[in-house]
């Protein structure tokens, strides 16, 4: 049984892959996103319990995404 659903947002494919592998080994259910736009879609689709967010990304940075996410969602999720 899954111990929680996590959305991993990072523009580096290697980081996404390794974090996904580590967390799946611990029975977390993982969704990944490579940028802010994909992250927003994934967030709305999967409603994760937690978002693991990279601060420095090329298009929209993590802080901006965090700010917009916190402003537009009344979520039970942690960032």
């Amino acid at each position: 049984m899954s111990t929680g659903t996590i959305l991993v947002v990072d523009d580096e494919p290697d980081i996404r892959q390794i974090v996904q592998e580590i967390l799946e080994d611990e029975d977390y259910e993982i969704t990944t996103a490579e940028n802010a736009a994909t992250a927003r879609t994934a967030y709305n689709t999967h409603r994760p319990d937690l978002v693991l967010l990279d601060i420095w990304m090329p298009d929209t940075d993590g802080i901006t995404l965090l700010r917009s996410g916190r402003a537009t969602t009344h979520c039970r999720c942690r960032w």
């Binding site: 111990t3 929680g4 996590i6 990072d10 980081i15 390794i18 974090v19 580590i22 967390l23 611990e26 977390y28 319990d49 937690l50 693991l52 967010l53 990279d54 601060i55 420095w56 993590g62 802080i63 965090l66 700010r67 916190r70 039970r76 999720c77 942690r78 960032w79």
Partner: protein
Amino acid sequence: MMSGHGTVETAVEAIRLGAYDFIEKPLTTAKLLVTIERALQNARLQQENLSLKRHGGVVSVPVGKGKVMKQLRATIERIAAHDAWVLITGEPGSGKEVAARYLHSKSARRDRSFVDMNLAAVPAQNMATQLFGTEQGGETTAGVFEQAGGGTLFLDQIGDLDLATQSRLLNVLEEKRFMRVGGKFAGNA
């Protein structure tokens, strides 16, 4: 939040915006797992806290291992599956409110309000407005029927009601509709 260029400013900004924690790259498995576990635990506690507040802070279960108490819990659980008016009788202190709260917690309405009104504590002249609310000069006040909307209303000491209000209450029970004092349109109970 994760970053390869950890600065105090960005960490503080992230936390200020509501992030639970800040992990610096390169990531270590141990730090990642501990942080995630604690963040999820924190989120669960916040949810539990909200849920407890929504349920009036009381999770009420009639306790007891005896046959009678087991039977009582089973009966309440069976009744809770139905949207029906329930009359709970018993001597003072026997746990009528505990039973009512347990019934609410087992019903499909458990995420909605549980409103408890002690009728013995309300003066007779205010009873109708407290129960049904008022509507005067375009201003409306919600009574307990409206406050409990979609949830459970527990009317304690119902035997102390005056006859006029008992008759009005009976009408609400039968029609499942009520009218605010001074109101023109009936609302659903």
